[in-house]
C-alpha cells in the first residue's frame, strides 16, 4: 500500500470515529455502526490493496482498532480506561497479526508494537485527559500509523 492510500485509510478511520458513542447510547446502534465500519474498511482494503500484500489480511481490523482509539477521545466518562482498552486491541491486532507473518517469513513490526504498547501503558497512568492531551494522543496514533 502506498503512502497516499495509507494516509487515506488513517483519515477514514479518523472520520468514521466521529459517529461512535453519540448519545443516546444503544447497544444495537453502536454494534451496528461498528459492524458497518468493518464492512466499509473491508471493501476499502479489498479494492485498494494488492492481494499479494500480506498486510491486506488484517488491514480492516487495524483500521477498526485505530478508529476505536480515535473514538475514545470523544467519550465523556471512563475515557482513560477505554483509551487503554482500544490501544490494547490495536496492539493485539498488530502483534498476533505480525506473529502469523513471522511464520511466513516476514519480520515482526517491533517498532509499531512497542510504540502502541508504550501508548497503552502510558494511558494506564493518565487520571485526567485534557483537550490538548487528546490532540497529542491523536497525533501520536497517526504518527504510528503513518511512519511505523
Amino acid at each position: 500500500m502506498d503512502a497516499i492510500l495509507n494516509a487515506l485509510s488513517c483519515l477514514m478511520a479518523l472520520g468514521t470515529s466521529m459517529f461512535l458513542w453519540r448519545k443516546p447510547l444503544n447497544v444495537y446502534k453502536e454494534a451496528g455502526i461498528l459492524a458497518l465500519f468493518l464492512v466499509v474498511f473491508a471493501l476499502f482494503s479489498y479494492f485498494t490493496m494488492d492481494a499479494s500484500d500480506l498486510a491486506q489480511e488484517y488491514m480492516p481490523f487495524r483500521m477498526l482498532a485505530v478508529c476505536l482509539c480515535f473514538s475514545t477521545t470523544s467519550l465523556t466518562s471512563h475515557k482513560s480506561r477505554y483509551l487503554v482498552f482500544a490501544q490494547v486491541l490495536w496492539l493485539w491486532v498488530e502483534f498476533f497479526g505480525g506473529l502469523t507473518f513471522v511464520y511466513r517469513g516476514l519480520d515482526m513490526p517491533w517498532t509499531r508494537v512497542i510504540a502502541i504498547g508504550s501508548g497503552a501503558l502510558g494511558g494506564v497512568f493518565l487520571s485526567h485527559i485534557s483537550r490538548e492531551m487528546e490532540f497529542m494522543l491523536m497525533v501520536y496514533w497517526i504518527a504510528i500509523w503513518m511512519f511505523f
Binding site: Y28, V39, A42, L43, Y58, F95, L99
Partner: protein, 554 residues
C-alpha cells in the same frame, strides 16, 4: 426437568460411546480426515468446545470486571458451562493424536525430552494455555461458588475477573494460531485471532441462553449482545469470502440470517423461538469449524460417517450429562440459601450497574502481579538462555505467547492461596500438600527422563533401509505421478489424474512425517494405499527421500 435432561445426555453419550471407543482403538483411520490437512471431526469438536469453554468465563468476567455484574445464577451457569465444555474439549486432541498413551509428549519441557515437543508450535502453546486456563477457571468458579458464605473470598472475585479477562482472550487467540501460522491456504489469516474470539463469544452466548432457558429464565442483555455479534460474524464471513473466496450458505444462513428473527416480537418473547435461534447459531458455528478444519471437503454431508456423527453425539451427550448432573448437585447442596443457582424467576434485565472499579479494587492485586511479572521474567530469561544447542531455537516471538498464561497463573495462585488456605479443612490441606508433592516428583522425573542431546549412536531410518533401495521404490511406485524430482510428472498427471501436490519443503513441513507415512500406507483421495506392498520403515525412508528431493529443488 434436570432428570429429563440428564437422561437425554446419557442417551446421546451412550449412542456416541461406540464411536468414541472405535476412534481410540483405530486412531485417525476411524474418522474422515481431510485430504490435505489430515484433520477431521475431533479437531473440529475441540475448536467448537474450547470456544464454548472460553465464552462462559469471559462473559462472566467481562461484566464483573467492568462493573456490570450479571445475576449470580447467570454468572455461575456461564462459569459451570465453561468447566464442562473444557472437560469435553480436552478429550478430542487426545483422540486426534491416535497415540493417546503418549499425550504427555506435548508438554513443553523445551529440549529436556529430546525433540518431542516443538516449542515454536502453537499446538504446544495451546496445551500450556488451556491447562492454565482450566486451573484458573476452576479457581474462579470455586471462589465464586463459596464467596457468599466466606466473605474473604468475595474480595477476590473482581481482581480474579481482571486476571481472567485478558487470559481468556489470549488463550483463544493461541487456538486461532494453530491455523493461522500454517501453510494451508484456507487457514492463512492474520485476522484469525479476532475472528476466533468473536466466534467463541457468539457461540458461548447462544449456549448460555439455552442453559438459562432450562432454568426458565432469560437475560435480555445477553440476547442483545448475541444479536449484535451476529452482524460482526457476518462482516467476518464477508471478509473471509473477499479474501479467499470461501463461502458456505448454510453457515451464513444459520449464523447470520436466522438470528435476525429476534427482531420479531413473537420469536423473541417465545421460549421455543429463542431456543430455535440459539441452536441455529450453535449448529452454524459447529459447521463453520468443520469446514475450516477440513477445507477440502465441499460436501460435508457425504464426508460424515457414523464415527464422525457418533463423536458429535458423544461430545453433546457428555456436556449435557456433566452440566446437568453438576447443576443438580450444586443446587441441592445449597438448597434453601438465597445464593442457589436455578431459582425459577423470569427476569427482565439481569444486569444492575454497580460502582465502577476504583483503584482500591486493584490493591490486593499488587503483590500477585509483581510476583507474576517476576516469574514471567524468569521464564523469558530461562527460555532465551536455553536457546543454544536446542533442537528448536527460540526467538522472542516464540517466547511471548506463554508469558501471559505464566503471569496470570502465578498471580492468581498468589492471590487465592491465603484466603483459600484459611477456609480449607485440615484433611483437604493434607490432600493438597500430598498432591503438590506428587506433581513435583512427577515433573522432576519427567524432566530427568530425557536427554537434551540426540544420542550419538542413533540409527536413522535412512540407514535402516539403504538410500539406494528407497530411491528404487520411489522410481518404481511414486515417480509415475509425483515425478523423479517430487514436482510431479506433468505430462502423465495432466492427462490422467487431478494434479497431486508438489512436494515442496514447506508442504512437507506443514504435513509432518507421521501424516505422510499414513498417506503412503493407507492412501487418500487419489493416492493409492501401499500397505502390504511396502513396510513402514520404507515409507519413512520415502518421506526422508522426499525431503531430500525438496531440498535439492530449493
Amino acid at each position: 426437568m434436570y432428570r429429563f435432561l440428564v437422561y437425554i445426555g446419557a442417551a446421546l453419550l451412550l449412542l456416541g460411546a461406540t464411536a468414541f471407543g472405535v476412534s481410540l482403538w483405530d486412531g485417525p483411520s476411524a474418522w474422515h480426515t481431510d485430504g490435505r490437512t489430515f484433520w477431521g471431526i475431533p479437531i473440529s469438536l475441540f475448536v467448537l468446545w474450547i470456544g464454548l469453554a472460553h465464552a462462559g468465563t469471559l462473559i462472566s468476567a467481562i461484566f464483573l470486571a467492568l462493573g456490570y455484574p450479571l445475576g449470580r445464577r447467570t454468572s455461575m451457569i456461564a462459569e459451570l458451562s465453561t468447566l464442562c465444555s473444557l472437560a469435553v474439549a480436552v478429550l478430542f486432541p487426545l483422540v486426534h493424536l491416535g497415540v493417546i498413551e503418549n499425550f504427555y509428549m506435548v508438554v513443553p519441557f523445551l529440549d529436556a525430552r529430546g525433540n518431542f515437543s516443538n516449542i515454536r508450535s502453537p499446538l504446544v502453546w495451546d496445551f500450556c494455555c488451556i491447562a492454565v486456563y482450566g486451573m484458573v477457571s476452576a479457581l474462579f468458579f470455586v471462589s465464586h461458588l463459596f464467596c457468599e458464605k466466606n466473605p474473604s473470598l468475595k474480595s477476590l472475585i473482581r481482581p480474579m475477573a481482571w486476571l481472567l479477562f485478558p487470559l481468556v482472550l489470549w488463550v483463544h487467540t493461541i487456538v486461532s494460531l494453530d491455523f493461522a501460522v500454517t501453510f494451508v491456504p484456507e487457514w492463512r489469516g492474520a485476522f484469525f485471532p479476532l475472528y476466533f474470539i468473536a466466534g467463541a463469544i457468539y457461540s458461548g452466548l447462544a449456549l448460555v441462553i439455552i442453559l438459562l432457558t432450562a432454568e426458565h429464565c432469560r437475560v435480555r442483555v445477553l440476547e442483545k449482545l448475541m444479536l449484535s455479534l451476529s452482524w460482526f460474524m457476518a462482516a467476518f464471513w464477508l471478509w473471509e469470502f473477499m479474501l479467499k473466496g470461501t463461502f458456505s450458505f448454510e453457515v451464513v444462513f444459520l449464523g447470520a440470517v436466522v438470528p435476525q428473527l429476534m427482531w420479531l416480537r413473537f420469536i423473541r418473547e417465545n421460549t421455543f423461538g429463542r431456543l430455535l435461534v440459539a441452536f441455529s447459531i450453535l449448529i452454524s458455528l459447529g459447521l463453520e469449524r468443520y469446514i475450516l478444519v477440513t477445507p477440502s471437503e465441499y460436501d460435508v454431508a457425504n464426508a460424515f460417517g457414523w464415527v464422525d456423527l457418533g463423536l458429535v453425539s458423544f461430545s453433546v451427550g457428555l456436556f449435557v450429562l456433566l452440566f446437568f448432573v453438576l447443576r443438580a448437585k450444586l443446587g441441592s447442596l445449597l438448597e434453601g440459601d438465597d445464593v442457589v443457582m436455578g431459582e425459577i424467576v423470569v427476569q427482565e434485565d439481569d444486569t444492575a450497574k454497580t460502582d465502577v472499579p476504583g483503584r482500591n479494587d486493584f490493591t490486593p492485586l499488587r503483590f500477585p502481579l509483581l510476583l507474576g511479572a517476576l516469574f514471567t521474567l524468569l521464564y523469558v530469561i530461562w527460555a532465551v538462555s536455553c536457546d543454544n544447542g536446542m533442537v528448536f531455537p527460540l526467538s522472542v516471538e516464540n517466547v511471548v505467547p506463554l508469558c501471559l498464561p505464566i503471569f496470570v497463573l502465578v498471580a492468581c495462585f498468589t492471590l487465592c492461596a491465603g484466603p483459600l488456605w484459611k477456609i480449607t479443612g485440615k484433611r483437604t490441606k493434607i490432600v493438597c500438600i500430598v498432591l503438590a508433592g506428587f506433581l513435583g516428583i512427577l515433573a522432576g522425573a519427567f524432566w530427568s527422563g530425557g536427554s537434551s542431546e540426540a544420542p550419538s549412536g542413533a540409527v536413522s531410518v535412512q540407514e535402516l533401509t539403504s538410500s539406494k533401495t528407497i530411491e528404487g521404490i520411489w522410481m518404481s511406485r511414486c515417480a509415475s505421478c509425483h515425478g523423479n524430482d517430487g514436482m510431479f510428472n506433468e505430462k502423465f498427471v495432466r492427462e490422467y489424474y487431478p494434479l497431486p501436490q508438489k512436494l515442496s519443503l514447506e508442504r512437507l513441513d506443514s504435513l509432518g512425517a507421521d501424516s505422510l507415512v499414513h498417506v503412503i500406507l493407507d492412501g487418500r483421495v487419489n493416492m493409492n494405499p501401499y500397505r502390504g506392498r511396502i513396510t513402514e520403515d520404507e515409507a519413512r525412508g520415502l518421506v526422508r527421500y522426499m525431503r531430500r528431493l525438496a531440498g535439492e529443488e530449493q
